[in-house]
Subunit: 224 residues, 2 copies
Amino acid sequence: MYPKFLRMFSLSEENYLKAIYHLEIISNKGISTNAIAEKLETKASSVSDMIKKLSEKEVIIYKKYQGVTLTDFGKKTAANIVRKHRLWEVFLVEKLNFSWDEVHDVAEQLEHIKSPKLIHELDAFLGFPSHDPHGDPIPDNDGNLKVLEKSLLATLSKNESGVCVGVKDSSAEFLQYLDKKGITLGKELTVLEKEDFDDSLSIQIDGKKLSVSNKIATNLYVKK
Amino acid sequence: MYPKFLRMFSLSEENYLKAIYHLEIISNKGISTNAIAEKLETKASSVSDMIKKLSEKEVIIYKKYQGVTLTDFGKKTAANIVRKHRLWEVFLVEKLNFSWDEVHDVAEQLEHIKSPKLIHELDAFLGFPSHDPHGDPIPDNDGNLKVLEKSLLATLSKNESGVCVGVKDSSAEFLQYLDKKGITLGKELTVLEKEDFDDSLSIQIDGKKLSVSNKIATNLYVKK
DNA sequence: ATTTATTTTTAGACAAGACTAAATTTAATT
DNA sequence: AATTAAATTTAGTCTTGTCTAAAAATAAAT
Ligand SMILES: [Mn+2]
Ligand SMILES: [Mn+2]
Ligand SMILES: [Mn+2]
Ligand SMILES: [Mn+2]
């Protein structure tokens, strides 16, 4: 049998691994079949089938009816796919004039390209970026990622300031809405007022006063 | 997942189209089932199956036992895949420090990425290159390619000169051998002597005299 | 013109990955 | 504790793309 690190994964297997990886980051419990099915927009029965395969390949731990957990090897494999996804997103924005709301679908395809040299060189070409265009950290070659201290805008108090560093919702609609409001990563803002009745905020950004809904405030990360 | 017009063809269908496209360039007759099978390292029966599908999709003309021909639409579709392949090869060599013998396998994967904007922007980013790192022409967005006048080195007469513009064999072994000999695209050379008994050549390149086998002379293109 | 050889197509099987419907296990209520 | 609800797994089917083996058509050789 080939050593683990040479084992190849199909497109489908990679997508399952990535889904589980992302779910583990926010849940810290075993990941349920249904959660995976919802994330991948597939059926629970399909997930159940794939789980067995991944378990045999030793990338997840699985006991029937108990949900799954990534093994160290599985975690590393998944992180590498995320690494590729985010590096490609940086490439598209920095080099090919994509905006941050256009990159995701293309990166979903590019993340499956298999070539260690390609990723190594791309990383260098981009100047070893630490975060993608949405403020998400890029795992290093060993799968480790250093998580930046960040808070939701909604958690800032009156008169407190912060710099935009990421988004929680990275849907094209939300990103375009932020663009329209002139809110982009790197910009500093200050909370001028907090309204109790609808939890909206009045903020100062680019020297201008701007009203911001709770929906935005709970989906935009800032660094205090 | 992707818009319908972008996923008309599966990975497998694209590879068949490309194979037929390449075979048509050198054969100008109907392309046989066996020829396709050999090119794709698959079985004739598999080709026979796929041919029916492609015929129904109107990218090839097919009459039983008569071989196949690309329709205009099929030709355009195939040319677009070749366009992507060659643009990516340029990218890998020009931007990511790949050498010309390392790019093919990665380009085989990248050519299937579906995003018109990606290719348009990549083309611009690379400065609208006309040829790939092996001297092969890059089809334009409509699938047209202008073929450069070129001759095999073996066809040069004594004292005739030319500039290296392409390779017929683009295997990694041949390309590496050319590298070792110091023969790269763009270099000028002059035929000093032609040996009759083994059809080898003595050429002048970079101010130095070099002996070149018939194998090289019949796989290297020059522009007179 | 037959016979032989080669090429191509058909028939039937298989693996991956998805689905629906049914069965089973676990969780939640009464 | 018993019943109901929800989550999960199993059983069986389907599509895509591949294969081997056998049949049919074409090409080559006598
Ligand atoms: Mn993304
Ligand atoms: Mn991202
Ligand atoms: Mn190539
Ligand atoms: Mn090439």
